[in-house]
Symmetry: C2
């Protein structure tokens, strides 16, 4: 149904009631968790979800549990009305938008427990939730997959993700949930968590979507100026004695260099060190600061020295104060 107004649910119990009622009618409930500020990438997850379900729930909730106190929770972009319109007009409508206020607020202020939260364990990584002292103290950890890649530079991120996804699964009680392969490590972590904790939910990984210039779609792209994506620069060509123009790749150097590495690997260049060096050099010259660039096994996310089995080249890059993720799968 096109242009359908979604039912907006903000209350936990209402959400579960809706879902159980849908299930009791034999409907397959599909779920796409998001942090809002929706773009075509999210909408493609919704489309994917609809292929596998009768009814679709999209959650819009910026999860404080996956941000460290020094990360960009406060500047994370929000546009709830715009999101609803996109879901209504571009994705052909969804059934429910679950938009809870605070999923870590349990109503009762528990003074004794909170008093203890000051005495955090040594070496303990702190999320915005632990800092706000709401008494929440249960965390889900996927101990091996959460290491490395984004886990290295964002120590609370995946425990925050695994925990909020568990909470959302328990509230929405879906049959199917869709995660983007843009966040490759996240997708694998959720798959593993669902297996290890025996959730009765099928996880689908949806392909990464790119802008026409190759940049992977992300809510954070809004912070990039046009010049930070790519820009034309003019220079004096002494050979031809004329002014000339050149396209200076900036953020788009990420995807360009990844595609180049994939092609090289498919042509037989399978030594990861050399593939990585090339990508890092290209992005560095374009003005980016590489947070990590790793070629890992597609399932275990084990770092590879040589590409012998299905691999994925995962990268995180800072352009200015914007951190961008990208990856390409490499089948050899």
């Amino acid at each position: 149904m096109e242009n359908k107004e979604p039912l907006i649910i903000t209350d936990k119990d209402d959400m579960r009631r809706w879902s159980r009622s849908a299930r009791a009618q034999g409907k397959i409930v599909g779920f796409v968790p998001t942090m809002g500020y929706l773009h075509e990438g999210h909408l493609s997850l919704v489309q994917e979800c609809k292929q596998h379900s009768d009814l679709t729930v999209v959650s819009i909730y910026v999860n404080p549990g996956q941000f460290s106190p020094n990360e960009d929770l406060s500047t994370y972009p929000l546009d709830f009305i715009g999101d609803i319109n996109k879901l209504k007009n571009k994705a052909g409508g969804v059934d429910v938008v679950f938009h809870p206020k605070d999923l870590y607020d349990y109503g009762k202020y528990d003074g004794v427990v909170n008093a203890r939260s000051n005495g955090l364990e040594e070496g303990k990584v702190v999320s915005c939730v632990e800092n706000s002292g709401q008494g929440h103290e249960t965390w889900v950890r996927v101990q091996k997959l959460e290491k490395g890649l984004c886990g290295s530079s964002r120590p609370v991120f995946f425990k925050g993700v695994a925990t909020i996804v568990t909470k959302l699964f328990n509230l929405v009680e879906p049959d199917v949930a869709v995660f983007g392969k843009k966040d490759y490590q996240q997708w694998r972590i959720i798959e593993r968590m669902v297996r290890d904790l025996d959730f009765g939910i099928k996880i689908i990984g949806a392909e990464l979507l790119r802008d026409p210039d190759g940049l992977a779609k992300s809510s954070r792209n809004v912070h990039l100026s046009p010049e930070q994506r790519k820009k034309l620069i003019s220079y004096w060509d002494s050979a031809s004695q004329t002014w000339s123009m050149e396209l200076n790749l900036q953020a788009t150097s990420i995807s360009e260099s990844l595609f180049h590495a994939r092609t090289a690997a498919q042509k037989g260049q399978v030594v990861c060190r050399e593939l990585k060096d090339l990508v890092i050099k290209t992005i560095h010259e374009a003005g980016g600061k590489v947070d990590y660039a790793e070629i890992v096994d597609q399932e275990s996310l084990e770092v590879l020295d040589e590409i012998k089995s299905p691999a994925v080249f995962c990268i995180a890059v800072w352009f200015g104060n914007v951190r961008l993720l990208d990856n390409v799968e490499i089948a050899v």
Copy 2:
């Protein structure tokens, strides 16, 4: 219905299918997780469960995830046929006994991931599951409540309990689950986990049951000899110049001394140090080795110096190689 044969389910998918079918018929599903070797205490949990549900599921599964490699997994008592008979004859019948074989076996041997499990994090506590290398790597932790009391001497215990209960909740999908207050810390941890992870399950804490001699009922009591519970000793009474008999409390000194402490507290003796010293001394004289004896807040399990609010005196004691738990709630 008396003497009802329970349906025995061993397969994960069959369990979930049964539960969803029951729910679709509007039935309230109640759940009692156990590790088997059932005694009157478990049967009282089943009775409690029936007060709150239309259909009752009891799981019998010895969870390797809550044992350290040096703990008593291999000698944990088993009696599946006896358990089924008790459930049939003494508890008035249950609907389902869920008896899975191995809840950490995911079918596929994942060599790459397992290879990494040798390089466990520093200071990481290892459970029998991590040691068996089945690729399971997701753990649920209730970070504050799992500290102290049993958590101090059994470092993997509560992460194992929280994780297996999450798995069982996801497989059985009950509306109500019953936990015994005999395992007081466990009950509070499950309550908190259910709140923090938004499980749609009501948790009920059932009262501790005691044998006529006062000993808290436990599967591990089977390892105690009659003499380790209490014994009569004869001695020469020099005052009366006769042989006399005296009841020498051993394991039963635990409950005796706890009751005594509760009475003292209710009479105004609220300094925890003194109450604890008395209990420790009594048990020590009876031949027991106190693992811990703490008076804590009933909800936060925060250690108390003085009893000013509802408290619980929790204790763990070794008699020989049997570790016994007990507790009394103290309302002042």
